[in-house]
Symmetry: C2
Subunit: 188 residues, 2 copies
């Protein structure tokens, strides 16, 4: 007997996207196996076939989210003068897509404070972005590029945290102005 | 008929402290009305007498948490040269008490991305700390103190976020060194 409807096989990537979509709309705590299954119109068992636990589902979805961000950063590159600012702007919540992404990223970071598997993903991601920033600063002959890259990345993620967790206190011009000021301090 | 045990009347402050204690140990999502009541050995009704909903309980507990932090910052003051660094160090997770506090602060910030009542508390708190930093920078004749205060506060909270959500990548010496480097850049 065949299934009454044919559908493309459910992939891990479908599930990652569903977790991130449900989390963006309703908050990460509501991205449960049950809600993710409902979002995709599949059974709970179909989700559990890929990811038996919520922890496993979250590890995969967080990895997919940080991969999206690092791929965008890699695409910007760091060859020319404007690229450093462009890379950093990718991390700031300056449009609706990046605002939704920043919210979910902060929710995963909060979980990572108590879950070593998520903390390991966070650590690898930060190390990779920091290395890219450090390379870009080194290429311009900046002093102490490692410390400055750590500071820059912290500043940008702190701005994203502050902009996302307040209402209207950090308009895009303010984020842009703080970022430019810091780059001028570092690069001059 | 009197109650079999006498106890001091339960205050809102007892409840704030219980939320923060349960959150520090088990995560903010586990600081439910039921668990807070169990932690204090009181009935669910006794908690609900003060705070009928979890939202009301969280607004009060988050206010208590940010008051703790701002009171410590006020106590440091900004009269002498070392004070600016001391104020900023208060915000970094450099001992077990501040690590626990930073975790819960990040969890509240994550909730604040979706709850306007918490976002309003976050916004007032950031504005207050930023104003204190701006005053301290102005007193030293630093250029553009407002933008630099915003950048400093973002950098410190970003470092707290990165240190709390990774395992061992941000030892105290690293946090201290990034902070000193940034202050040297700004103040020189």
């Amino acid at each position: 007997m065949t299934s009454p409807r044919r559908r493309a096989p459910l992939t891990a990537s479908d599930l990652d996207n569903a977790v991130l979509a449900v989390a963006a709309e309703h908050g990460l705590t509501n991205a449960t196996i049950r809600n993710v299954a409902a979002h995709l119109g599949v059974s709970i068992g179909a989700v559990q076939h890929h990811f038996p636990t919520k922890d496993a589902l979250y590890i995969s979805a967080f990895t997919a989210l940080v991969d999206r961000v690092t791929q965008r950063i890699d695409a910007v590159g760091h060859a020319d003068d404007g690229a450093l600012e462009d890379v950093l702007m990718e991390l700031l919540p300056i449009d609706s897509r990046r605002r939704a992404e920043a919210q979910v990223m902060i929710e995963f970071s909060a979980l990572a404070t108590r879950a070593e598997s998520l903390a390991a993903i966070q650590e690898r991601t930060l190390a990779r972005i920091r290395a890219a920033l450090c390379d870009a600063l080194s290429a311009r002959g900046v002093d102490a590029p490692g410390v400055r890259a750590t500071a820059l990345l912290a500043m940008v993620d702190g701005l994203a945290l502050h902009a996302s967790s307040t209402t209207g206190a950090y308009p895009q011009e303010a984020l842009d102005s703080v970022l430019r000021h810091q780059l001028t301090l570092i690069l001059d």
